[in-house]
């Protein structure tokens, strides 16, 4: 441990500066989410405001606190120990923030969200007491928002790479045993025991062996891996290095999707820093073990998130999933033994090695130990990333995120990405662990939870998810590319009012057939449609037999009508992209041949424009 102790001692100084800043420190969270809300502009505005006022302070870049709805966020820490987290700090609010928050021990109350750290701040709740946070146990996210992701010393200063040091002082079997005892399983969706997977690779004869990190997080609505890579990149490197040691692998690839350029940037920086500090490269921490790694950037293919598709993509080929056997542990990247784990799986490993399996298993349920990160999006008040122990009821996450938009009712939850299926709102108390989701014919998946309220149509959403699966099918198996196409055609026909009574059987038959596909993409692609048939039979029947979309979403089943004249109608007519609203002698009507049903007119004249059932004759008369 001596090499590590030395490293830790040096790094502690760097962390001490953060803990007890000698002068005020403004830490701006720069992540994909915050950037979308203008955090780059906020940072620039802070720099110029600080320069203008000749203030002596530090301005640094941190990661994500997991409160996407509150971005841009920043923290101001002072030598007194006062540390305040500010929310919604757009560039235009910077002058007020600086004027009030940097006036001695002042706080800019309108933007203040919470006090962080040990010093209470009058009139402010503590971060831990926020409704969004009380439910959470942040182990994986312990550094998120707190450290500078581009500072390896802050990571080490907070105990980073101690897990690696401890692993290197243990036998490789010992490391695998610890991971097995912790009950860690793959967080990417398949939930396969990590220790067993590693043991396969350890037993493989061929050399070299590869550790691969699946950072392709392609499920739309999932952004937990992104949060980790952008906010705490070293925990992934450390996890991969420990895995490399345990399995006898000498090289790693972290495959990051095209849509995450900032992740690639931060991971690359972290890798170079890790080499500089001797926690990557030859003779790591003086223990005689050598391991290095690189980033591979994807280029826009969902199926590369399937482990053998990902391997093919690393090998300079079309990212088409391979036929197994051979399994990656026998012949993976460049036909060499390979282990593929998800970002979050690797991120758990340093915690297990650092604190031990007993500590790790103290959290969670009988079958599922530890914590899991989730991202909530869709019809939810506060889009966020949360980390909770396994077994928390889904409802509590929705509550923590402020619930649904005013006046709406929960209709469905879509877990685990487009292939994860869809569950009915009646199961909102479902425990967040894989088994109960499997019982519903769905997948807990990698952490994305899309919340769907009663304004959405379940046929429309099923069509959307199935279309996604069709679009991203690699084309190898007819069961998959043909099956998804047929399903999309049928659903589209139903949405357009052409549903047939034979469709249900046809969809089920297709679903059964698709299960024979080579990879998880094809086998899981029918999940959402089969779930929809089982869990939403009424809504399906309404579409097929009643020719009616109860949520009034499906294009072929609705019509826009002007039901009353109103002073807003000229605006509605002007906004119409197809000039479908015709005014004659002051009376407006919609030319149904031109209308593309885009809803813009109803936005501007909600009192006059209504969406009505297009085909069901009894419902054509307007009831609203």
């Amino acid at each position: 441990m001596s090499v590590y102790s030395e490293l830790r001692a040096k790094a502690s100084e760097a962390w001490q500066v953060v803990e007890t800043p000698p002068r005020p420190r403004i830490a701006v969270g720069i992540t994909t989410c915050s950037r979308a809300h203008g955090a780059d502009e906020t940072l620039a505005a802070i720099r110029s405001e600080v320069a203008q006022r000749n203030l002596v302070l530090d301005i640094v870049v941190t990661g994500c606190w997991g409160l996407c709805y509150a971005e841009p966020m920043l923290e101001i820490a002072k030598p007194s120990g006062q540390r305040v987290l500010y929310q919604l700090v757009t560039a235009d609010r910077v002058p007020q923030l600086i004027a009030e928050a940097l006036d001695g021990e002042g706080v800019c109350s309108v933007l203040a969200l919470a006090a962080v750290g040990l010093t209470p701040v009058r009139g402010l709740p503590s971060f831990e007491s926020l409704h969004m946070i009380t439910l959470q146990t942040r182990r994986l996210m312990a550094n998120c928002g707190i450290i500078e992701p581009e500072s390896i010393d802050q990571y080490i200063g907070r105990g980073g790479y101690e897990g690696l040091a401890q692993a290197l002082a243990t036998s490789s079997e010992g490391v695998i045993k610890e991971v097995t005892d912790a009950g860690l399983w793959g967080r990417g969706g398949a939930a396969f025991p990590t220790g067993r997977k590693w043991d396969f690779l350890r037993g493989a004869k061929n050399q070299p062996k590869y550790m691969v990190c699946n950072a392709d997080e392609g499920d739309p609505g999932s952004f937990v891996n992104r949060t980790l890579m952008e906010s705490d990149p070293h925990c992934i490197i450390e996890g991969m290095a420990i895995g490399g040691y345990a399995c006898g692998a000498s090289y790693g690839y972290i495959y990051i999707r095209e849509e995450y350029p900032l992740c690639a940037e931060r991971m690359n920086t972290a890798i170079s820093q890790a080499r500089e500090r001797g926690v990557l490269g030859t003779d790591i921490l003086g223990a005689g073990f050598s391991f290095d790694m690189e980033v591979v950037r994807g280029a826009g293919s969902y199926v590369c998130g399937e482990e053998t598709g990902l391997i093919a993509s690393i090998e300079d080929r079309r990212g088409m999933p391979k036929i197994r056997p051979p399994f990656p542990a026998q012949a993976g990247v460049f036909a060499k033994p390979t282990n593929v784990n998800n970002v979050e799986t690797y991120a758990n490993v340093p915690l297990i090695m650092h604190h031990g399996a007993p500590w790790y298993t103290a959290m969670g349920t009988e079958k599922n130990k530890g914590t899991k990160m989730f991202s909530l999006s869709g019809h939810i008040q506060r889009v966020a990333v949360l980390e909770v122990p396994f077994g928390v009821p889904l409802r509590r996450l929705i509550d923590a995120c402020g619930g649904l938009p005013e006046g709406r009712t929960l209709k469905a939850i879509q877990p685990g990405g487009p292939l994860g299926g869809i569950i009915n709102a009646e199961h909102v108390d479902i425990s967040l662990e894989p088994e109960p989701f499997r019982e519903q014919g769905a997948l807990l998946g990698s952490g994305g939870l899309v919340i769907i309220d009663d304004t959405a149509c379940i046929i429309d959403m099923s069509l959307y998810f199935e279309w996604f699966a069709e679009d991203e099918s690699c084309g190898r198996c007819t069961t998959c590319h043909g099956g998804t196409q047929r399903m999309v055609e049928i659903l589209r026909r139903i949405a357009n009012g052409g549903g047939r009574t034979s469709d249900k059987e046809m969809l089920r038959l297709l679903g059964d057939t698709m299960r024979w596909s080579n990879c998880a993409h094809g086998t899981a692609a029918p999940t959402v449609v089969l779930n929809m048939l089982a869990a939403f039979p009424e809504e399906y029947r309404e579409h097929v037999e009643g020719k009616r979309c109860p949520a009034r979403v499906c294009r072929g089943l609705v019509r826009y009508e002007i039901t009353a004249q109103s002073p807003s109608l000229p605006d509605a007519a002007a906004i119409c992209p197809t000039a479908a609203i015709v005014g004659k002698d002051g009376a407006y009507s919609i030319d149904q041949g031109l209308c593309i049903k885009c809803d813009a007119c109803r936005e501007l004249a909600p009192e006059a424009v209504h969406v009505v059932d297009a085909l069901a004759p009894s419902a054509v008369s307007v009831s609203e």
Binding site: T32, C33, A36, H37, C68, E71, G218, P220, G221, S222, F223, R226, Y253, R257, E258, E259, Y260, E294, V296, R297, G298, A299, G300, S301, Y302, S313, I314, E315, D316, R317, R318, G319, M320, V333, F334, S375, S377, G378, H379, V383, P418, V450, I452, T455, A456, M461, Y464, F465, F468, C474, I575, P577, T578, I596, K597, C598, D599, A600, E603, L604
Partner: protein
């Protein structure tokens, strides 16, 4: 390698480090695309020679990935997020309106190459759903009416003033 002789020097420099079985191809596609805005056809035989494979294999790999372009990008890329949060909040309405106003469908550019409309995957900026990106810069959340006004403005200005 006659291909190297014919290729523009920048292209040759971009593929210089490419080695077979070294996980280099995707990175090289990205480097070429960063320099040219797309991967020009003359790059294909160069890449094939470097990887000691056939141009067909390289083109086959390239065509698999939706973010690798084989044509120059439009002056202003209007990217429509296809994610579920956007979908739930009216993205489909926005797509229809944009297509009607710009006269192009997803994946197409206006004939003068000024404006392109394309699908992008969700990157998790769902707090801003539904959103569009203009040369990568997010705009959201948008109502359909706001998206229409934006599209009309872009159509009038041919995307000038919105470059990254």
């Amino acid at each position: 390698m006659t291909e190297t002789a014919k290729a523009p020097p920048e292209l040759a420099a971009l593929v210089a480090d490419l080695k077979p079985d070294n996980a280099d191809l995707l990175a090289t596609f990205h480097h070429i695309q960063e320099a040219y805005g797309y991967v020009p056809p003359e790059a294909i035989p160069l890449l094939a020679a470097k990887l000691r494979t056939t141009p067909a294999k390289v083109f086959g790999a390239m065509s698999f990935y939706s973010e690798i372009r084989t044509e120059p990008p439009p002056r202003l890329a209007i990217s429509w997020c296809s994610g579920p949060a956007c979908r739930l909040k009216g993205a489909e309405n926005i797509r229809r309106a944009l297509e009607a106003i710009l006269g192009v469908e997803l994946g197409q550019s206006t004939p003068d190459g000024a404006l392109g409309l394309s699908l992008v995957q969700c990157d998790g900026t769902c707090a801003q759903a539904p959103l569009l990106r203009l040369n990568g810069r997010p705009r959201g959340p948008l109502t359909v009416a706001e998206a229409i006004r934006l599209a009309r403005e872009l159509r009038e200005t041919r995307g000038n003033g919105h470059q990254a």
